[in-house]
Every structure is written in C-alpha cells, then in structure tokens.
Symmetry: C2
Subunit: 207 residues, 2 copies
Amino acid sequence: MTLPERTVERLSEYRRSLLQCLEEGKTHIFSHELAGLHHNTAVQVRRDIMFIGYTSMQRKGYDVRELIDVIGDILDSGKGLNVAVIGIGNLGRAVTTYFVGKRSKLNIIATFDVDTTKIDRVISGVKCYPINRMKEIVEANNISIAIVTVPADSAAEVTAQLVEAGIMGLMNFTTVPLNVPDEVYLDEYDMITSLEKVAYFVKSPRN
Amino acid sequence: MTLPERTVERLSEYRRSLLQCLEEGKTHIFSHELAGLHHNTAVQVRRDIMFIGYTSMQRKGYDVRELIDVIGDILDSGKGLNVAVIGIGNLGRAVTTYFVGKRSKLNIIATFDVDTTKIDRVISGVKCYPINRMKEIVEANNISIAIVTVPADSAAEVTAQLVEAGIMGLMNFTTVPLNVPDEVYLDEYDMITSLEKVAYFVKSPRN
DNA sequence: TGGAAATTGTGATTTAATTAACAATATTTT
DNA sequence: AAAATATTGTTAATTAAATCACAATTTCCA
Ligand SMILES: NC(=O)c1ccc[n+]([C@@H]2O[C@H](COP(=O)([O-])OP(=O)(O)OC[C@H]3O[C@@H](n4cnc5c(N)ncnc54)[C@H](O)[C@@H]3O)[C@@H](O)[C@H]2O)c1
Ligand SMILES: NC(=O)c1ccc[n+]([C@@H]2O[C@H](COP(=O)([O-])OP(=O)(O)OC[C@H]3O[C@@H](n4cnc5c(N)ncnc54)[C@H](O)[C@@H]3O)[C@@H](O)[C@H]2O)c1
C-alpha cells in the first residue's frame, strides 16, 4: 500500500505546519484550519489523513501531536537514511548548509567533488571527499540518497556512478534529465522550467 | 486558451533538449526520440506539440529549429519579463549567479536584502538594494517576477510587500506556504518535502 | 432534553492528465 | 507500382486526482 505521490508531499508539508502549531501550544486542529495553512481544501486534508488511517476525536479536530507521530510513522518509518551531496558548488553548498541538522531522520553525511581545492573541506560539519572514492564511501556508510548538484555535463556520468554504487533515491537539480533504473526513485527539479512556467502564467493568466 | 501546467513545463524541457540537438547539428527529431530524452512517451510529446498547434512534415519528424521557435512563441511571447531575487543568502546568491544571462527573455535585474553588509554588493552584475526600496525599484523597472529566498519567518511579510508592489509571479523557495491574491501566479518549491518524498519512495517502492 | 451547528469520514461524481488505438500519410522496399 | 513500414495527429478510453455531497457523530446551547 503506497500512498499517492501528491499525498506524500502534502503530508510532509502538513507535518511542518503541525510542528509549528505544537510550538505555539495548539493541541488540536480542524481540517479546514490545516487546509487554510496550505493551498488546499478541508476535504483534501481529510482525504490525505484518511489514507494514512488516522482518525480524530470527532468534532474536536485532529490531535496535533498524534498526527505528527502518525505522519512520522509513514514518512520516517524504520531507520533514518543517509544522504550525500554530489558537487559542492554554489548550489551544493547552499543545500548542504541548509539541510544539515534539519530533519533528524535524513542525515547528510558526505559530500563529493572533483575539484581538489574543495576536497577535505568541511561544510557545516560534513566533509567533502574526492568523487573517485564515492562508491567506497557510499557503501561503507550505507548512503542511500544522493542530491546531484554537479554541472549539467557531468550529471550523466555521476549518476551512472551513483547507481553503480547502489544509491536508491536521487534528487536532481541539474537541468538534464537523468536516466536511472526503475528501482531507483528519481525526483527532478528544474529551476529554469519553473521560472519559465511562472513567466508563462504571468503573461497568460488562467481563468 | 492557456495550456495545461504540466504541458508548459514539458515544453520548456523539450526546448532545452532541442537547443542541444541543434548544436549537435540534428535538424529533425521524432516524437519517440524527444520522449526518450525525457521521462516520457511519444504520445505525450505529440499531444503536447498538438496543444501548441505545430505540425511536422509527415514521417520526417519535427523540424528542430521550427519547433524551438514555436515553443518560443508560446513561452517567450511578447516582451521579456524582469525578475528580482529577494534575500541574498546562500540560496539567493546561488540562484542569482546561476540565472544571470541564462534565459535571454527573463532578466534578473535587481536583488534585495535587509542586511546592510549586503546592500550595494553586486552579484554577477546585479546590484543588491535595501528591501525598503523594493516597491520603488520594482515599479521603476517594471519587475513582474520575484524569487523569494528570505528566511521562513520573513517570507509572509516580504510577500505582502511584493504583492503590494505589483509583482505578478512568484517563485517561493522558503518552506512556508505563501498567500497571494488569485491573479498572482505562485510556484512553491519545497526542498524538504522533496527530500522526504524521495526517502519515502526509497523505503516503499511503488509497483 | 431536544434541536441546531460543526465537523469528520467516505461513497459517488467530476475533472484533469495520461495512455491506447488507429486512420491518414509519407517513405522505403521489392 | 504494390506492399510493407514508420510516423504523425487525434478521437476515444483509462487512470489518477480532486471535489461534491451527505450520513454519522459530537458538542453547544436554549
Ligand atoms: N546555482 C543554482 O541556483 C542552480 C539552479 C538550478 C540548477 N542548477 C544546477 O545545479 C548544478 C550546480 O550548479 P552550481 O551553480 O552549484 O554550479 P557550480 O559550478 O558552482 O558547482 C558545480 C560543482 O560540481 C563540481 N563538479 C564538477 N564535476 C564534478 C564531478 N564529475 N563529480 C563531482 N563534482 C563535480 C565542481 O567542482 C563544482 O564544485 C548545475 O548542473 C546547474 O545547472 C544550479
Ligand atoms: N539554502 C538552501 O539550499 C535552501 C533550501 C531550501 C529552502 N531554503 C529556504 O530559502 C530561504 C533562504 O535560505 P538561505 O539558506 O539562503 O538562508 P540565508 O540565511 O543564507 O539567507 C537569507 C537572506 O535573506 C536576508 N533577509 C532576511 N530578512 C529579509 C527581509 N525581510 N527582506 C529581505 N531580505 C531578508 C538575510 O539577510 C539573508 O541574506 C529560507 O527560507 C530557507 O528555508 C533554502
């Protein structure tokens, strides 16, 4: 029973809002409140929560803490995963700095680069290794997710190496589509495309 | 007649591949070839191209140059748009550096920050202005798109200012959902959510 | 206590996106 | 020049996602 992709995304977003609520001392939340915090409807929220099989106390809204835990059971199930960032340029550095220490179950534990001036540098406590030691280090540290921030023309090569090393999930920030076997999960995020899309809809507003 | 959101995205991606083809001297391309370059089917490619009303020479595939132009007519229609980056921290700097000079019709022409040490700095040829001059500069330079890379707790405030200043499209990199009026197009990209989604599907592979 | 009101959970329906199916057409082969 | 092949463009069918509609339950309050 795997959840719809969009539902997984929304659950992650809900959790962040819920943690915020908890900090503010809010113990219960209604579906329409949670919907209001996202761009979303109350039904959608209830449907998503239905998928994960959580039910609230009727009429009191969802128990914030419980819901956080239930989402955690889904999103963080089992042990945490180790993550590597490949290519410590402008974007790689920003992403590494940002993610370190953020989500406790997803740990960035290594970065890789070809540039000898970057090797052995420590970014937010994470060391940069030479790319030719990638397989060795990925295997030794049980790294299963890679964030790819190398230049476009190295992306295919690096990806092949990552797959070879046994990586199971990949976040691609380069602007070339990557090819991975079916069993490897691939998330592509193309900023140029996003910006061009924004521009298109600015010029051709819908409805 | 506005195109489906996903089609707009794919057209942007196709164009990039097509430009690459052109460089390599390829003059024609079949739908299944273009599909192969993306994670996509030939039918989907033909459907997308149908939407924009381009038709190929039967059996010869699409004329690469013509198709680039037709996509350009859709994506770059009319005059170019001006873009600002708000918050010149790690991510804002990376994004600015990256985008400058990339797409000729979308020009980053200003950045903004509150940090006085950053103001007046020039990043890849783009000057950083104090955030309190935002409205003035946005209006004077006809900036219609903003890329938001401020800390999460400033995001709502900055967004309100941007809307007030007349911004029509917004790319949000912060992890709080923004609220904008209907007529403003909003693209949210949440890296934490993406990473959590990758982790989920690594642990619970589909099919 | 007995409505009225608020809220959830979910089956049914609608809408949007993708995929299948195939006729039409151009090219190649024999 | 007829048959076989490859490819497009598009209608129809399917699948996936979102929304509607409403019964069930709980709380509120007169
Ligand atoms: N900077 C952005 O905001 C941005 C936005 C969208 C997309 N991207 C994409 O992200 C990628 C990186 O962008 P950037 O701006 O950080 O570039 P960058 O040039 O600053 O960084 C690239 C890094 O990768 C390293 N590298 C090169 N080849 C390598 C290899 N084979 N193995 C390991 N490391 C290698 C380089 O030494 C460098 O440190 C590019 O593909 C770019 O298209 C960046
Ligand atoms: N760095 C990343 O890779 C990354 C990834 C995902 C999301 N984000 C999000 O992007 C945002 C920026 O991240 P970052 O790592 O660049 O942070 P950062 O702290 O390096 O940069 C934030 C910048 O915004 C400026 N700023 C603060 N308040 C402002 C205001 N009111 N007006 C204008 N500028 C203001 C700060 O002076 C600073 O320069 C954050 O919201 C973060 O959640 C960053």
